[in-house]
């Protein structure tokens, strides 16, 4: 397309100023109300209100005009460039190859004036997208066509695939009622007690007695405990146990009910479009996650579940897909059930006999020292005050913390296999993270003052939609990991990965 207007920088539609001023008015209602309130004695309230609104509208219009005057966009040969800024100039350039699509949005005000907001979607997630507020509708559509033509012209020719009939969906993971019940028991929740507490606070006027009167409760308990004392020690123990048991039952019941409502009929299927997850009793959700958008996976568990061998699998997906980037694909299952799901997404389990690397010894020493100091300082204060008995408490806590740091060091390790970075950590509730190196975005090695002194730091591997951090890595190991990651990244450009 050879439109001569394309090569010059253009401004957005002037009518957009009106829309911006109006929406600015809407946002500054609180300020205007405050202004009117303060000036209410200056004259008739109507005139004061009109004056304040007019003043605010003028200021908004002035600022909007200044910004409009400075904002230009330029449809170039290789990118879209938007330059803006009055005092601080900013120029943002988005190459066509990175633009996934162009979307046109119309809010109600914009629709009134025949304007449209043009948004250039990159693969990165909605937050940082380039947006041009308020072009006229014909201009917006023309821009979309131009960008699409440029992008498709610049992209490689993707051979049209022969339309075979879609493969039948394959069920990867499902949870029946018995599994849901077990899951619910482990999702023990005392939330119902908190709810009851809140309800009593709100509605205590409905009860026949004053629930907050401590003397009343003490009288009740005095009556009860007198009867208990007659029964003796055993009965008291039994009654306490019964109380605890009822709380436990209540918690388990709450967990079962909540889990059943949320995960009823959980089915995970592999369709040709991606991973399809359906669940829910009252609110049925049906989500499809395209396979090429999966960036990393995590297998995690909790203390009690691990004792019985239950783990959960979740994928990290590009942030654009849903509210939370972390998608649980198999929340409660045995490891033998979870690994086939992970392998269907292209992840490989850590190879046997792999050489796992731990954090550096200096890091271990520093973290043990810091937790030790946290305990030693209050202990020495107490010793100085002569409280030898009480000083034992921080020392005991300190010993537990230091041992915990040592165990954490032993259990935090990572390895690089043929295509992936694998990290595991945790002892009581171990967790395994796997990310294919080709899907990583950047490598960042940061060192605090202690780290610079002792030669270690935290390696942050940039992940779209999540985080992958390995703490306490020595400088040499960080070099090695970084070189391996960069070599893998160089093999594929991100746009290709995203096109699936």
């Amino acid at each position: 397309m050879t439109e001569p207007a394309l090569s010059e920088p253009r401004r957005t539609a002037p009518v957009g100023l009106l829309v911006k001023a109006l929406s600015g008015l809407r946002q500054s209602i609180a300020g205007m109300a405050a202004g009117i309130f303060f000036l209410r004695d200056q004259g008739s309230i109507i005139w004061v209100a009109l004056g304040v609104i007019a003043l605010v509208a003028l200021v908004q219009l002035g600022v909007a005009w200044l910004q409009w005057h400075r904002l230009t966009f330029h449809v170039g040969a290789e990118d879209i460039r938007v330059e803006s800024g009055v005092l601080a100039r900013a120029a943002r350039s988005v190459p066509y190859e990175r633009i996934q699509d162009v979307s046109l949005e119309q809010g109600p005000l914009a629709r009134l004036f025949g304007l449209v907001e043009v948004r250039f979607e990159t693969g990165a997630g909605g937050a940082d997208d380039l947006a041009l507020t308020y072009l006229t509708v014909p201009e917006g559509e023309e821009l979309r066509e131009v960008v699409r033509a440029q992008r498709d012209g610049a992209a490689r020719e993707i051979a049209p695939e022969a339309q075979t009939e879609p493969a039948p969906a394959q069920v990867l993971f499902a949870m029946g009622p018995l599994r849901l019940f077990t899951f619910g028991v482990f999702e023990f929740s005392l939330a119902v007690i908190a709810v009851l507490f809140g309800l009593t606070q709100q509605f205590d006027f409905l009860l026949p007695f004053d629930i907050w009167d401590w003397d009343y409760w003490r009288g009740q308990l005095a009556g009860q405990s007198a009867w208990l004392e007659r029964l003796g020690m055993l009965a008291r123990v039994v009654s306490v146990l019964a109380a605890l048991l009822s709380v436990a039952l209540l918690g388990a019941l709450t967990g079962v009910v909540r889990t059943s409502l949320r995960e009823w009929g959980f089915t995970l299927e592999r369709t040709d479009k991606g991973f399809r997850r359906r669940r829910g009793l009252l609110t049925r959700t049906d989500v499809v996650m395209p396979a090429h958008r999966v960036q990393a996976m995590t297998i995690g568990t909790r203390l009690l579940r691990r004792l019985f061998g239950w783990h959960g699998l979740s994928f990290v997906s590009l942030a654009q897909d849903a509210g939370s980037a972390n998608h649980v694909v198999a929340p409660f299952g045995r490891l033998e059930e979870l690994w086939p799901v992970a392998q269907a997404a292209g992840f490989a389990p850590p190879p046997d006999g792999a050489k796992w690397h731990r954090a550096s010894a200096a890091y271990r020493f520093d973290s043990m020292l810091i937790s030790g100091l946290l305990a030693v300082i209050p202990a020495s204060v107490l010793l100085g005050l002569g409280q030898y008995g009480w000083a034992m408490l921080p020392l005991a806590i300190g010993t537990v913390l230091v041992t915990g740091e040592w165990i954490a060091w032993r259990k935090t390790e990572h390895v690089l296999d043929a295509r992936q970075v694998i990290a595991r950590r945790g002892w009581l509730a171990p967790r395994l993270d796997i990310a294919p190196r080709v899907k990583l975005q950047s490598v960042d090695f940061s060192q605090g003052p202690l780290g610079r002194w002792h030669g270690y730091g935290t390696l942050h591997l940039g992940l779209a939609g999540g985080t992958f951090a390995i703490p306490g890595v020595s400088v040499e190991r960080a070099q090695a990991v970084r070189d391996a990651v960069l070599a893998s990244i160089a093999q594929a450009d991100f746009s290709e990965l995203n096109r699936g």
Binding site: R92, V94, A154, Q447
Partner: protein, 173 residues
């Protein structure tokens, strides 16, 4: 309006071991120190004014508040910008950009061009006076999704942006 950019003599000041792998890091433009200094002065002014106000209130002995504040302000204006300048560097490779920064908390980020989503070129009013610019490359990552490189000469920053863009185009062809 351009200030004359006499290069600073930084040879006597030792470079910290930022290029641990032996790679030569390109230092930023010396005018960046001036920008940092002016920013430090602007940040220190409110604190000095507050200290003067406290002094006039006469709660503490004369000079108990003003002297430390002035000393701190002097430290931040005179010494810190130079140290921060020395600790920063970058390497513009064939297919990656590496940015090193930080005095106490140093950070070494590498962004391969194949992962750059879009590029920002920003000039604050201070930077415009000294003909400097800040280049920001954005990736799709969540942590550290944007890597900032301040203190570049405007022409250099534009050239780097073009180089990165050319690489992206080449990659996807």
């Amino acid at each position: 309006m351009h200030m004359d950019d006499t290069p600073l003599d930084i040879a006597p000041l030792a470079r910290p071991a930022v290029d641990a792998d032996g790679e030569e890091l390109t230092p930023l433009h010396p005018n960046h120190v001036k920008v940092l200094r002016v920013q430090a002065v602007l940040t220190a002014i409110p604190f000095v004014i507050a200290a003067l106000v406290l002094e006039s209130a006469g709660l503490l002995p004369t000079g108990a508040v003003l002297v430390p504040v002035l000393l701190l302000a002097g430290w931040f204006v005179l010494r810190t910008p130079l140290r921060r300048y020395i600790a920063k560097g970058y390497t513009m490779g064939d297919d990656r950009l590496r940015v090193v920064r930080g005095v106490l908390f140093s950070s070494d980020s590498v962004v391969p061009f194949g992962r750059v989503q879009h590029i920002d070129l920003d000039q604050g009013p201070l930077e415009r006076m000294y003909d400097l610019a800040t280049l920001t490359v954005h990736t799709a990552g969540t942590h550290n999704a944007s890597v900032r490189l301040p203190g570049l000469l405007n022409a250099d920053a534009v050239a780097m942006r073009e180089a990165i863009r050319a690489h992206i185009r080449r990659d996807t062809l």
